[in-house]
């Protein structure tokens, strides 16, 4: 297994003109393995096989049809599955594109550790981008509010990174079942120059005949996992034994109640109010993001099997814990218009 090809590039946007961080491509055309005997001890059930094959087809389409693709890697469970499927898609070649993590600097510490370990373990190229200007202005989820923080540190940061490296296609792990406004999202989601998403200007998608043609400045977001559901994701993680961030598993963790949500005290920046007393609770997360914006759930699920069993009986949607959605009914749609995914 070749691992030395891995390289973490950290980029911050310098607004000086003409600055462009060098990105060394890792030895992507290296064989990752030799003639192997099947180590598979299971067959995926039909519906997961179909989903996996569909995602592989989409990923290959991107590599065949675009000049400079990138995979947006958010460290969460959907990204973990997307990356796992991508490696299968191009085997025995190495991943023919880098991963991009847009770091708001407010992710759980365990996420960052997991991210760096994953890149190393799989020997993939990882680009980490932070909106330096936002950071310098002190934008943060607690004082600036979730809306501004998300716009500057996620949406703007993502656009900066795409422009900086001139990526023409970016894979995202979003699923159609996550939220109502995503149910209509295309698999190949067209963005005109400036990353503008207009639902009325999307291309019809018939059969598996995607239209990948772009004009100068136009880009594509590609949602290769569109048709997976949350349950599919967990079932696949379980059967394929894919590593995920430990925060998905229940454990005693220090938490406080804030705005009706259970927030984990991940570091001192949370700045506890006088009425907030951290207590140890058996909790886990169904979605992961910036820690002050991620609500935990009470749970005893300590293994993937437990999580899948819990999912089979869950009565609350995964987005409930995600504070950025609760602002108003159509808030996700607004964020899309602005270019957040």
């Amino acid at each position: 297994m070749q691992q030395s090809g891995c390289r973490v590039v950290r980029s911050c946007l310098l607004l000086r003109q003409g600055y462009r961080p060098k990105r060394k491509r890792c030895a992507k055309w290296h064989l990752t393995n030799n003639n192997s005997v099947s180590k598979k001890n299971h067959m995926l059930p039909k519906h997961l096989r179909r989903l996996e094959a569909e995602s592989i087809e989409i990923m290959r389409e991107v590599v065949a049809g675009f000049k400079n693709p990138v995979m947006l890697y958010s460290i969460g469970k959907d990204s973990s599955v997307m990356l796992h499927v991508a490696i299968k898609a191009f085997y025995p070649a190495k991943l023919p594109f880098p991963l991009l993590h847009v770091d708001t600097t407010w992710k759980f510490r365990e996420m960052i550790t997991f991210r760096d370990e994953t890149a190393k373990r799989l020997g993939v190229e990882l680009i980490v981008h932070v909106n330096k200007e936002g950071l310098e202005r002190g934008i943060n989820p607690i004082d600036s509010g979730s809306a501004l923080h998300t716009r500057v540190m996620k949406t703007d940061a993502l656009k900066q990174a795409l422009d900086l490296y001139q990526f023409d296609a970016a894979f995202g792990g979003a699923r159609r079942d996550e939220e109502k406004s995503r149910a209509k999202e295309r698999i190949f989601s067209f963005r005109s120059a400036g990353h503008v998403w207009d639902p009325r200007n999307q291309r019809p998608e018939l059969w598996n005949l995607f239209n990948t043609q772009l004009l100068q400045g136009e880009t594509m977001r590609v949602f290769a996992m569109s048709n997976w559901t949350e349950l599919d994701i967990w079932e696949y993680i379980m059967l394929e034994k894919i590593p995920v961030v430990p925060l998905y598993f229940a454990k005693q963790r220090p938490v406080v109640r804030r705005s009706g949500a259970t927030i984990m005290v991940d570091d001192k920046r949370l700045r506890l109010q006088s009425n907030e007393m951290p207590e140890m609770r058996m909790i886990r997360f169904r979605t992961l993001g910036c820690y002050p914006l991620s609500g935990a759930i009470d749970s005893d699920a300590t293994t993937i099997e437990d999580i899948v069993a819990e999912m089979h009986t869950a009565t609350v949607s995964e987005r409930q814990g995600r504070l950025i959605d609760t602002d108003e009914a159509a808030s996700m749609e607004k964020k899309k218009w602005e270019g957040y995914f």
């Binding site: 055309w29 290296h30 064989l31 393995n33 003639n35 192997s36 005997v37 099947s38 598979k40 059930p45 039909k46 519906h47 997961l48 179909r50 996996e52 094959a53 592989i56 087809e57 290959r60 065949a64 049809g65 299968k88 898609a89 191009f90 085997y91 025995p92 070649a93 109502k180 406004s181 149910a183 209509k184 639902p199 009325r200 291309r203 019809p204 998608e205 018939l206 059969w207 598996n208 005949l209 239209n211 043609q213 569109s226 048709n227 559901t229 599919d232 379980m238 059967l239 293994t303 099997e305 437990d306 899948v308 069993a309 009565t315 609350v316 949607s317 009914a329 159509a330 749609e333 607004k334």
Partner: protein, 437 residues
């Protein structure tokens, strides 16, 4: 052990059914889908709470929960109270996982219906029991048929509003059957339902004792969609050449139909060159065979010239290869189709094919199926056309194979997808093709 039980339950697996719902505005599509999602418990408590709030604000059902609001997506359409695009919904039962293409019933949206139908195996055609078979019903049925859907559920909805009347139901079914006879459906199953009150949706209703058939969900769970593609002949469009180093050259793609095993003989459709499959490579080890739908990478015994866009088949089951064919074309752009103008075509994995629509033989009235003379095709119109391509392309008639018989038309200047085509037959065989080996 609970964890073992969970793994077994997941591994037992289920298959997937993709279906489309069609109906005119207010026939109850959104209500029906909302109810399927709700009753199969895809809707969680927090979404239900939001739904109750929304129902009070936007709902059309008085004090009741308006299930339609569960599926109305974008802000713009919510304000206008109409559905403007194709939405995909998911729900799952112990036996199947379902993907629903929810398409609007508006006159001008043939395009959306065709999109939703293109990957569907079954259509639920909704009829308002008070109104019976309408011109829209005929249009939707025709488009489903044209796009290759072979199984139809005729959901006679709002049966509560006609007092669960059997005669009314029978009359509508009779009207529909008479009309649908020429559409080539393999099965048409009529079910009396009330999307709003749930009759015959998830459970058998005791208000329609006269109805002996299955309720909707039971039927959707049990209909045999015998993967038609598995029984078809082998087709493999090469999607991407995987060449990480000099020792490996693999052809990556998804098996469009049929199956292939290591050692089988194959032919490259366009060049006529033949060889054998050496290995079917996967990360978990080599596979003995690949079936329809599988995304695989194959290596071949001989180094022959193959690239993205090539179609692989068995030597005794070759596709058509020609540069002229006749096809049904659905026009999807505001700028009408102009015969003789050049466009870019995509057929299978063959992209960037220069082509033109050389003649519009006739236009088809979607409501009456009448053939009309036409010089152009406007948005949402369907025509039967002759198509010419700069180079010979490999395909099968759409009726035989949806994956290898379809194509899209792209505008050369805007890059918009302006048309979708279904190939009927070749107009002449390509001359520069070696068919012997």
């Amino acid at each position: 052990m609970p964890s073992k039980a969970t793994i077994d339950r997941v591994q037992a697996g289920k298959d997937q059914l993709q279906f489309i719902t069609c109906g005119s505005v207010d026939d109850g599509k959104s209500t029906l889908i909302g109810r399927l999602l709700h009753d199969s418990k895809v809707i969680y408590e927090d979404q239900l709470a939001a739904l109750a709030r929304d129902s009070a604000k936007h709902g059309t059902t008085g004090n009741d929960v308006d299930f339609a609001l569960l599926v109305d997506g974008l802000e713009a359409e919510r304000e206008q109270g109409i559905t403007i695009d194709v939405a995909y919904r998911f729900f799952t039962t112990l036996r199947r996982s379902f993907m629903v293409a929810d398409t609007p019933g508006h006159e001008q949206y043939t395009r959306n219906m065709a999109t939703g139908a293109s990957n569907a195996q079954l259509a639920i055609i909704l009829i308002d029991a008070r109104k019976g078979v309408l011109v829209q019903t005929k249009r939707h049925s025709f488009i489903c048929s044209l796009l290759g859907i072979r199984h139809v559920v005729l959901a006679v909805n709002k049966i509560d509003l006609v007092k669960y009347n059997k005669e009314r139901f029978d009359r509508i079914v009779g009207d529909y059957m008479a009309f649908a006879a020429g559409l080539g459906f393999t099965s048409v199953v009529p079910i009396p339902i009330s999307a709003r009150y749930g009759d015959n949706v998830i459970n058998q209703s005791d208000k329609t004792k006269w109805y002996q058939g299955p309720c909707l969900l039971d039927y959707l769970e049990s209909i045999d969609i015998q993967s038609d593609v598995a029984r078809q002949v082998f087709r493999f469009p090469v999607q991407w050449v995987n060449r990480p180093n000099l020792d490996f050259r693999g052809y990556a793609g998804s098996v469009a139909s049929g199956s292939i095993s290591a050692g089988d003989e194959i032919v490259v459709a366009a060049s006529g060159r033949t060889t054998r499959v050496k290995r079917i490579v996967a990360q978990d080890g080599n596979l003995p065979r690949a079936d329809a739908g599988d995304a695989v990478t194959i290596t071949l015994e001989d180094e022959i010239d193959i690239g993205r866009g090539d179609l692989l088949a068995r030597p005794n089951e070759r596709p058509e290869v020609t540069d002229q064919f006749a096809a049904h074309l659905i026009w999807m752009d505001n700028d009408p189709l102009v015969a003789g103008r050049n466009y870019i075509l995509r057929i299978g994995t063959r992209t960037g094919v220069a082509g033109s629509i050389t003649a519009i033989k006739h236009r088809i009235d979607v409501n009456t199926r009448e053939h009309l003379a036409a010089r152009k095709l406007s948005l949402n119109e369907i025509g039967f056309c002759n198509v010419a391509t700069a180079l010979p392309v490999a395909f099968d008639p759409y009726e035989v194979n949806r994956k290898t018989g379809s194509f899209i038309v792209i505008d050369r200047f805007t890059n918009r997808t302006v048309g979708a085509g279904m190939i009927a037959f070749p107009l002449r065989r390509a001359t520069n093709t070696a068919t012997a080996f």
